[in-house]
Point group: C2
Chain length 416, copies 2
């Protein structure tokens, strides 16, 4: 009996890493005034058919017919669910909406480094405000999320681009933008194709390769000045670069697009997003019309990046150590005192402490071994000196005696 | 576009409730030294076919054939995944294992009060220790989880029973236990059937209804004394009653079984569990042999019970208020000072505060309205007095002036 290919078990040591990542995501999103939402894991297949983000996702769906003859699918991304939810209750909420979710997604892809068939993703979206202050708030949230893991501008870079800049470029060079979708697809693959091939393809849309290269080197998208000034005022601009080669694969983006990469270029994109100002209107047949910007950040590539950057790996290690299974181990030195020991266990747990103790009578030396392996910092020894309690500091091996009344406060002090 | 029948959207106000419930679950489980694990949402269908918990679950599976021609199913419960994981890596872990998970499950049932097709469940399991101290630790964890929501022994009761007591009863009355499974099924439905029907059915296994009723009224399962003494020493015995009519539906339980009910009897069982000492051995073809005890607690009935008990509802409301979207709202009284305001926003977020501010230039009165609706306790006003900052307490409407250096600490004090 094994997991299905591309699926993961989270043993306690893996789950602790996952919980660390989601706790940081949640903490930073909440600092930005974002509120959490979630939808069902299973949705009607039509939700994805209608949006049709570009074809690839549809071919990767885990879809089937349920016992009620409905065509259903495991969610491959969050945006369709978000748009469905917002469209249904849009009038209940003050704008702008600042919503985030942390959820699992499912894609039938070839399992490989950085890709699994079930993955966790943070999604943050700001709906109802189309200005550059909203763009900057989202970029800042993305950067601060990375900073909270211990990454600096030397480790990661957020590459900004703008589909509108390319639209203007195309209009200027060719007098129209009818071939925009085709043109963006060529730009998307710019770094993976030969000059000959690019020359030929660009020719069909009426553009030359030198002009494209010149625009990438010297083009200044119109949004740049205000957006960068905003990020500068927050002290976050060192994380951000303009890179017009970024256009993103999904069809629904309408303006600003961005991706996060590790500076060492060893990994896939860590996160990505952009503006999708027409999607709510398109999916609600025009009944709801809100500009929107959002991004997603998955746990798989992020986890690799944490392992790769020493400061981030150290920060995670320290957090995991703090979250170890137990803070206190109650040693039962005299089995006749088990009832009193159980009372102490309960007393300390009531005070919020994480407490372990032996479920079977065992030698005191063995119990101290278990105490150390449990991650506890202190052992409380209950024996024939009762009601005097012995407190042993497991790192320094020093000890003190203490009364029941003073115990919980003293331990809380020692743990902090 | 709607959710599928029996599935739920979690709008921010619903998600906050869900996060409150899972935070309490996680907090108490960790106090007991339990560590979190998780498995995939999708498993091979054979995992459930092999365990065959009693037929009903198999008929409620969301199962299908994936793009790789594998028979797969959305998980309907956690125990098979847990047992698969533990059997695969059992030798890596010190015994006893104290593991918990918080995860979504899927059953194609008729949606009704207290039942949805996707639900969240806390699962706690203690593996590798078969004694009554382990039983008591699990019962205490269940009771403390309920206490942490604000329930007292007047609100909830944990009913304990023992399949072994019924086995002994059957042996004593009939000289054997060949008809045990059939007999337990009759006991399980005791309160829902007529005396005539019961008389007839019990007759086929060689037992009389008066003997059964007498055993329920006066029988003392052998585990009772030690287990109750343990819970007494912890001060938790008032939550617990022996009730031999509880036998639980699942086939794999081997001894102690228990369920939690609301005292008002308005709701379905809030939680339930028991010992399954042979399941690991059965599912691993004898290669791993660990005694085990576990329980599950779902979010749907628990949520109804919280709403029904004023102290629990108040505790939740207070927790949700503390977790409101924002703590601080930065009012930009002079739009020319937006860069300075952005610097303050970033400064306060770096200090861990939850901060909101206007993304578009707007009147100061409007901004204060937004501040109050955001849940913020204080407004920081940035205007033409800069670098002097005005701090306004939103509940008392008093204000003070403060320097940038003192700002973050002062706000942190005010929030706490």
């Amino acid at each position: 009996m094994q997991t299905l290919p591309g699926f993961r078990d989270f043993y306690p040591e893996d789950c602790a890493r996952r919980d660390y990542i989601t706790a940081v995501w949640r903490k930073v999103a909440r600092r930005y005034g974002f509120v959490e939402y979630d939808g069902p894991v299973l949705e009607g297949l039509d939700l994805y058919r209608k949006k049709n983000s570009g074809g690839e996702i549809l071919s990767q769906l885990f879809n089937f017919t349920d016992k009620g003859e409905r065509e259903v699918a495991l969610r491959p991304e969050m945006t369709p669910t978000l748009v469905r939810m917002v469209a249904a209750k849009e009038s209940h909420y003050k704008k702008p909406l600042k919503w985030f979710s942390i959820a699992s997604f499912f894609r039938y892809e070839k399992p490989q480094k950085g890709r699994s068939r079930e993955f966790l993703q943070l999604n943050c979206d700001l709906l109802g405000e189309g200005n550059q202050a909203a763009d900057a708030e989202m970029i800042a949230l993305m950067v601060d999320t990375l900073r909270a893991f211990g990454f600096t501008e030397k480790d990661v870079v957020l590459r900004l681009s703008d589909r509108n800049a390319w639209t203007e470029f195309l209009r200027e060079k060719t007098g129209g933008d009818a071939s925009l979708a085709e043109f963006l697809q060529i730009i998307d693959k710019l770094e993976r194709e030969s000059d000959e091939s690019l020359h030929e393809k660009l020719g069909t849309v009426g553009v030359t390769l030198p002009d494209v290269r010149d625009f990438i080197a010297n083009g200044k998208p119109s949004f740049l000045t205000a957006l960068m000034a905003d990020l500068e005022a927050r002290g976050l601009s060192a994380f951000v670069e303009v890179d017009l080669t970024i256009v993103r694969g999904l069809a629904y983006y309408t303006g600003l697009v961005f991706e996060v990469f590790d500076r060492s270029k060893k990994l896939r994109a860590v996160a990505g997003g952009g503006r999708y100002d027409r999607l709510l209107s398109d999916l609600s047949d025009g009944s709801v019309n809100l500009p929107a910007i959002g991004f997603g950040m998955g746990d798989v590539v992020l986890g690799s990046l944490i392992d790769q950057v020493p400061a981030a790996a150290e920060a995670m290690k320290a957090a995991l150590l703090l979250a170890s299974a137990s803070e206190v181990y109650v040693v039962i030195a005299d089995e006749a005192r088990r009832p009193e020991a159980l009372g102490i266990v309960q007393h300390l747990r009531n005070a919020g402490r994480r407490v372990d103790f032996p479920l079977v009578a065992s030698k005191v030396g063995k119990q101290f071994q278990n105490a150390e392996q449990s991650g506890a910092k202190v052992a409380v020894v209950i024996g024939n000196e009762w009601p005097v309690i012995k407190l042993k500091h497991l790192s320094t091996r020093t000890e003190e005696t203490i009364s029941l009344e003073a115990l919980a406060d003293r331990i809380t002090d020692l743990i902090k």
